[in-house]
């Protein structure tokens, strides 16, 4: 029996499998979540263990506006996916633009916060354990925001060129899953760094 054999399959049977894009992204999110968990564990473990100042209580203030912006960008990207799904090009461009804008505001506030921490309060990654864990955790999250923003900016570009059609809605949905994850991580980072840690 050197030739390939054929096993017939009963074509009347319904055979539906999950989308590989969504499964792949879910797996990536699981792996990324594990990375974040390690950084968060390190942050919590080192709360109050810095040998020198400044302490979180001295220098951190609640980034309420940035948080509102980032969390609402989850909504706007969701609306963008819906708009692509039904083929409304202008609407999808608008929602994507809003998402990129909100994400950009979040990044800008983080940048300003870091600028003040470094130049006003003299806190760098070398200063103490707080600086070490703060910049690495918030920086890891900000890196994910930047990656997401680049991808979303490309999606916006495609949408403006009119290349984003309903058949691409699943791809945008995969990207939006990543963005929701980035937002969800921020909720945890916010609670740990700005509420629990302060």
């Amino acid at each position: 029996m050197s030739e390939a054999v054929l096993i017939p399959h009963n074509s009347t049977e319904e055979w539906k499998l999950p989308s590989r894009g969504i499964v792949g992204m879910a797996c990536l999110i699981l792996a990324e979540a594990a990375i974040f968990i390690i950084f968060i564990v390190a942050y919590i473990f080192y709360i109050g263990k810095s040998l020198t100042g400044p302490t979180p209580h001295d220098v951190l203030s609640l980034p309420i506006f940035a948080t509102v912006c980032l969390l609402s960008s989850s909504l706007t990207v969701h609306f963008a996916v819906n708009a692509v799904h039904v083929g409304k090009r202008t609407l999808s461009s608008l929602w994507l633009a809003a998402t990129v804008l909100l994400g950009g505001i979040f990044l800008t506030t983080t940048a300003l916060e870091w600028y003040h921490l470094i130049y006003r309060d003299g806190l760098t990654i070398r200063t103490n354990l707080f600086g070490t864990t703060f910049y690495s955790l918030v920086g890891l999250h900000a890196t994910h925001v930047i990656v997401g923003l680049i991808l979303l900016a490309f999606a916006l570009l495609f949408s403006l060129r009119g290349d984003l059609t309903p058949k691409h809605s699943e791809r945008l949905e995969v990207l939006s899953l990543y963005w929701h994850f980035v937002d969800a991580v921020w909720v945890v980072v916010f609670l740990v760094v700005y509420v629990l840690g302060r």
Partner: protein
């Protein structure tokens, strides 16, 4: 018996009628391929290359330790040898060879034409391969401008604060960190691919409850990779920040904790052992039934035990840290968790025994290695129970007893089952059978060498010989044991060389295998050996766990019983 597919014959003719490709074309073909079978073979070839390198390092260490006060290698070189040996064997032999088999077999076994993301697959392979070469480039590149250090010498677990800039000047530790970080990205990419392939690419009728056990176990293994490799990636990022930006994660002088690194490393390190051994369980689940001529015993129990191992293995890591002083509460928890994991593992062993029981056993080379695996895995598990109890571990932690225990797992179980898998699937991959005569020599020599080395290695451990020493005094009473251990290592080397010779000789001269040399039951045996690049001319459909049994025995198909 079989329905011939006309489409297949037409497609085959187009490939065979093409002109003979030049060496450059073949190279281009392999370098740019996104075919899961070629990538799988490259993973396996790359792992075999590093297996030879890692084995060579082991031989150098055994020559050094064979007699007391030996000066065969310097203390510095010895430190580099055990660091490179451990790192190579875990990250650049174990992971790639198992991913290689998974890559090759999973799409064939579930009736798919490729992995879910072929290009991600190629990316993952090449970045993992780059990691391996980066690690070895340290022999050349690590001295750098400062001229300090050569290859990494911090041990494969690289405990803090030895890895700090002050204690590891030069770039050797950076090469170690980056090599592992990069190969970890490749591992996560391949694991994503495996999960997406298994969940989204199954042929019609291949429900989860009908998947071959190999595919099930690879699914669990890939899920574990996400929560195992990622913590290591995070810890390596922290180490890089410490070394390059002056942060203080593991800097004890600034209040940082060296024990935190131990936790982060072993949160990776212990589940990693299960990531490595689960695929060999997967091979056993395919090979033992075929050579016992019986369906596997207790399919649902096997799946449940695999998932249980996956979960429990995440809660046992600190049994590597009993001597750190974690306190009685933590010690008790990790002792109990470690004992618990032997329950699902025991279920597996009993299921394999029950599969063999009453079967018509075919003692091929593959089956011999599988039986060796069963026996030696059991012994490795027993010393695991010993070391898993904290008071015993306090006595023997960091001794050669520990080295003997984990080599019993890694060589006695994992490597034996890998050899078994080579004898079993080599015909599918190349179209030729491996020589059974050479296989028998390989098996018996390897069994003798293995037991000589690793049975006896327990004894100097009990006599107090610590691991990672480059030499010892003659009056310690360890000399005879070490000499015998080194002799066993030589015998294993000879056996491995016979195996490598067999691989090469059989490729050209071995008997032609045909599509289904073992009269097996899973889908990979339904296509030609080696399979065409599209795997299946027509996507098959299945109605039971053993589709080829159904095809060969239409009067009594498995679907009547499942």
């Amino acid at each position: 018996m079989a329905t011939q597919s006309p489409v297949n014959a037409i497609l085959d003719e187009t490939t065979s009628s093409s002109t003979h490709p030049s060496a450059l074309q073949i190279l281009h073909d392999w370098l740019t391929t996104a075919d899961h079978k070629k990538i799988g073979l490259m993973y396996i070839g790359y792992a075999l290359l590093f297996l030879v390198v890692g084995g060579f390092q082991a031989i150098l260490m055994r020559i050094q330790l064979a007699i007391p006060n030996n000066h065969f290698v310097s203390p510095q070189a010895f430190n580099q040898l055990f660091t490179m040996h451990g790192t190579t064997m875990v990250f650049f032999v174990g992971m790639p060879v198992l991913f290689g088999f998974g890559n090759y077999l999973i799409p064939l076994m579930i009736g798919a034409r490729d992995m879910a993301f072929p290009r991600l697959n190629a990316f993952s392979f090449w970045i993992a391969a780059f990691g391996g070469f980066l690690l070895y480039f340290s022999y050349l590149g690590a001295p750098g401008l400062s001229g300090a250090g050569s290859a990494p010498d911090v041990g494969w677990w690289a405990y803090a604060p030895l890895t700090a800039r002050a204690f590891s000047p030069g770039h050797s530790t950076d090469y170690w960190t980056l090599a592992i970080l990069i190969s970890g990205i490749g591992s996560i990419g391949t694991a994503i691919n495996i999960v997406a392939t298994i969940l989204c690419m199954r042929c019609p009728g291949m429900k989860l409850s009908r998947m071959p056990l190999l595919v099930w176990i690879y699914l669990v293994m890939a899920m574990m990779v996400f929560v195992t490799i990622s913590p290591l990636t995070a810890a390596q990022i922290m180490l890089l920040l410490d070394r390059y930006l002056g942060s203080h994660f593991f800097d004890t002088q600034a209040g940082g904790s060296a024990v935190l690194w131990m936790h982060f490393f072993w949160v990776f390190g212990h589940p990693e052992v299960y990531v490595l051994i689960l695929p060999t369980f997967a091979f056993a689940n395919e090979i033992i039934p075929v050579f016992s001529r019986k369906a596997v015993f207790g399919y649902p129990a096997m799946v449940a035990a695999t998932v249980a191992i996956g979960f429990i293995s995440l809660s046992v890591w600190a049994h590597h840290m009993f001597t750190v002083g974690m306190g009685p509460g933590a010690n008790t928890f990790f002792v109990l968790a470690t004992m618990t994991i032997s329950v699902p593992t025991g279920i597996k062993i009993f299921n394999w025994l029950a599969t063999i029981w009453g079967g018509k056993i075919h003692f091929t080379s593959s089956m011999k290695f599988a039986i060796g695996f069963l026996f030696q895995f059991l012994v490795a598990g027993l010393t695991g129970i010993m070391l898993g109890s904290a008071p015993f571990d306090w006595q023997l932690s960091n001794s050669y007893f520990v080295v003997a225990h984990f080599h019993y797992v890694l060589v006695g179980a994992i490597l034996f089952m890998l050899f078994s898998a080579f004898y079993y699937w080599y015909p599918k991959m190349t179209g030729r059978m491996l020589s059974e005569k050479l296989g028998t020599w390989h098996f018996w020599l390897f069994v003798i060498g293995f037991h000589l080395t690793f049975d006896l290695m327990h004894i100097p451990g009990i006599l107090g010989m610590p691991r990672r020493i480059y030499t010892y005094e003659a009056d310690r009473g360890w000399m005879m044991w070490n000499l015998l251990i080194s002799c066993g290592a030589v015998i294993q080397t000879v056996a491995t060389l016979i195996f490598v010779y067999n691989l090469i000789w059989s490729y050209f001269k071995g008997p032609v295998a045909g599509a289904d040399p073992w009269d097996a039951w899973t889908l990979e045996w339904s296509t030609t050996s080696p399979p065409p690049s599209y795997n299946f001319a027509v996507i098959p459909g299945v109605s039971s766990r053993r589709p080829l049994w159904d095809l060969k025995h239409p009067e009594d198909p498995d679907s009547n019983y499942e």
